[in-house]
């Protein structure tokens, strides 16, 4: 079966523009996670969804970031008024159920460049 897919694979935008990043999790996976990977910074946890619900949004870097998940499947991460410091690879992962022992399967990421 297909793994986690993300689109676009690359996004170049101008400072101040809004961007939407899409994640298609593995079919049937109830949990979905967003991470940001910056050079030399490892993976920074942003938000997770259990079904369509995001119990904890405190990992989002600022109020310019938002995420939603519909139908227990596709998720979008929206960054409004992008800044140069938002440039990074945004990774999505899904797992069958929520909880640490459930293996997270990662997508290839979206590389965002803010000029």
């Amino acid at each position: 079966g297909a793994g986690v897919s993300q689109s676009p694979s690359n996004k170049v935008t101008e400072k101040g523009k809004d961007v939407e990043l899409r994640c298609d999790p593995i079919s049937g996976h109830t949990a979905l996670y967003w991470y940001r990977q910056s050079l030399g910074q490892g993976l920074e946890f942003l938000i997770y969804f259990q079904g369509n619900s995001a119990p904890d949004k405190s990992g989002l870097p600022s109020d310019r970031f938002s995420a939603e998940r519909t139908g227990g499947s596709v998720s979008t991460l929206t960054i409004q008024r992008t800044q140069q410091e938002d440039s990074a690879v945004y990774l999505c992962a899904s797992s069958l159920y929520w909880g640490s022992l459930n293996e997270q399967f990662f997508g290839p990421g979206t590389r965002l460049t803010v000029l």
């Binding site: 490892g42 946890f45 997770y48 293996e103």
Partner: protein, 112 residues
């Protein structure tokens, strides 16, 4: 504040050698420690994981050593191969939690 500290940042090993990557943590509530392997252009993939009730876990050429008292754990890659060249991330979490705290990654290059 970095919850998990990883070293070295980069590592070059000869084929057949042993690669060792170290991680340290502060939060004693952590009780699940996975390692992820990431190839260029790909997302990370789970390699091996350990819980603190054991001091060592081995899967093929990959071994995790865990020192609970020192709050440290490490990944050993025996008989390193060029195909092992990738970035390796350690992580920590609580079993009841959903959030993983990742280290900053180690770029491993295995020279033929």
């Amino acid at each position: 504040q970095q919850q998990v500290k990883q070293s070295p940042q980069s590592l070059i090993v000869q084929k057949g050698g042993i690669s060792i990557i170290n991680c340290a943590y502060e939060n004693t509530a952590f009780d699940y420690f996975p390692w992820y392997q990431q190839f260029p252009g790909k997302g990370p993939a789970l390699l091996i994981a350990i819980r603190p009730d054991v001091s060592e876990k081995k899967e093929g050429r990959f071994t995790i050593s865990f020192n609970k008292s020192a709050k440290q754990f490490s990944l050993h890659i025996m008989d390193s191969q060029p195909g092992d060249s990738a970035t390796y991330f350690c992580a920590a979490s609580t079993l009841t939690g959903n959030q993983f705290y990742f280290g900053t990654g180690t770029s491993l290059t295995v020279i033929p």
